[in-house]
Symmetry: C2
Subunit: 318 residues, 2 copies
């Protein structure tokens, strides 16, 4: 038994191919919450973090559609709003699942900020697409008037806004949480933190922060959180049961238990997709390098068994 940080992403929050309604999100979270409750019933201390891609996309689009009547809010603010939205959803569904599993806890979602460096090269090279696709005619004034960086996506035949995706440096609320929470807190609460990677802020002068329009990879922040909260296991949930090398090739091989050094060499030779599996592997390796014992990459249905080292990709320290 130990302490586990679970990072929820993709289909743990929103089923692919749905209509994006609230009842759909609730149903999907209910499934994920049942899985998380099993870990607690098995004696783990649990911390949860989550992505916000589809949710922040919806808020961006709603702001846009209402722009003629209501001034839109910046992206950092919309990110904070998704922390409220998803934090509430996790509080509701996980609280219920924990009661059903007979291990009641108070699920406590925090509005979390993550410091990024203003000197991060990502600010010179925004490359993370957000929001919807635009025609050439729509894109031109957005680039000019709003100063958006945009990229053309040939496959979809449209332009998309790109924002910087800087490295997370520090989770602001983490230090005090670690200091104030008494030993054994896991028997009372399940913290939900750094949703969407945390609201990105830069430190202007000591203790004074300014929000920036950027996107932080939630798995990279998850590794920071796992380290600062002394987690034994970092579990990254995605839509495949494990990581693979030679993905989609005849020699494809799904990875079970792998040493960090071996995983690092797969990563270096480009085995993992840049926008999908590579950041999860990188986050896992960061966690292990800082003293973490085990990183798991799997999907929600496989999580319990992966925790027992029966399935999923388990990366372990050398």
């Amino acid at each position: 038994m130990g302490r586990v940080l679970v990072a929820l992403g993709g289909n743990a929050l929103q089923r692919a191919g749905g209509h994006g309604t609230w009842p759909e999100q609730v149903a999907q979270m209910r499934l994920t919450a049942a899985v998380l409750a099993t870990l607690v019933a098995d004696g783990e201390e649990l911390i949860v973090t989550h992505g916000n891609g589809p949710q922040v996309g919806t808020l961006l689009r709603q702001n846009e559609l209402a722009e003629h009547e209501l001034p839109p809010r910046p992206m950092d603010v919309l990110g904070a709003e998704t922390q409220g939205q998803i934090g509430y959803l996790i509080e509701q569904e996980l609280t219920a699942a924990l009661v059903r599993a007979k291990v009641p806890r108070t699920v406590l979602a925090l509005v979390s900020r993550t410091v990024v460096s203003r000197r991060d090269r990502a600010f010179q090279h925004p490359d993370k697409p957000v929001g919807r696709y635009y025609s050439e005619a729509e894109a031109r004034p957005l680039r000019k008037r709003q100063g958006w960086e945009m990229v053309y996506d040939g496959a979809r035949g449209g332009w998309r806004r790109v924002v910087p995706s800087p490295e997370p440096v520090r989770w602001i609320e983490g230090e005090v949480l670690r200091k104030l929470l008494p030993r054994g807190w896991g028997a009372h609460i399940v913290p939900v933190v750094t949703g969407g990677g945390g609201v990105p802020v830069i430190e202007k002068t000591k203790g004074v922060y300014e929000g920036v329009e950027a996107v932080i990879d939630k798995d990279r922040t998850a590794s920071l959180v796992a380290i600062s909260m002394d987690a034994d296991t970092l579990a990254i949930l995605t839509d495949v049961p494990a990581a693979a090398i030679g993905f989609g090739k005849p020699w494809e091989k799904w990875l079970g238990e792998v040493r960090a050094s071996e995983m690092e060499s797969y990563l270096r030779r480009g085995e993992f997709g840049e926008g999908s599996m590579a950041p999860k592997v990188q986050a896992s390796l960061t966690f292990l390098r800082s003293g973490g014992r085990r990183a798991i990459i799997t999907d929600p249905p496989s999580l319990s068994r992966a925790m027992r080292n029966e399935t999923g990709t388990r990366i372990v320290a050398d």
Copy 2:
């Protein structure tokens, strides 16, 4: 010195007559944050709560304007989103103000749920107007298709949706917070809790909650929070420097220090406006009845002096 819960409402968050832009909200919060930091510099342990009327109205309207493309989310979810939005704003501005006042703290905003009773009579008599005004032609299908209760406002010549405003019964996250926080936490953190009165939920079975489309008076929840967090002072900030009797009449009298029993008799004889001052007075009296020492009703610029009993309305136990 002691512990003070400050409830921010109205113009503490959004300047009347503005355009509702984000920079306006930031500027307004910066002024309020400077006032709150003064209390901490004076040695008070601080807890903050806030309203969300204008902000949830904006989200309701954005959901409506985008409805042809994106399914709208229920009101409880929008309330949670405003907790993220405003919680982030308070974290940012209050953290900076505390640094400037040389009393650095971590400002920690929580996604908070408030239990209401499904037997609360408010559910039979929804009377709290939310969102915008509709013409008769717009209102008819909303009443029929969405099942909205609506009321006609003669003065503005339009229909508005009304939702129930039940009594807050319990702030879910409060119990564990009170249990886990060590003595002297006020030297480290400033919790921001129960924004918009908390997301309203009903308890279906023990520990299993369901969100409801309702509005909880944030000042009434504030008195619950002040009690559960053992605050000495409940300070309710509004847009007037004090409560008055005979408001707008020739015999108008602004109230300074008043005993609870005296305030109660003013309340009974209808001295305070139903939608504005009366709930603040009621919340104050609830707090005092449960052992609170002092409730203050004032505006942000007067708060520091009111804490020294020099201005504002101070209601004290008999």
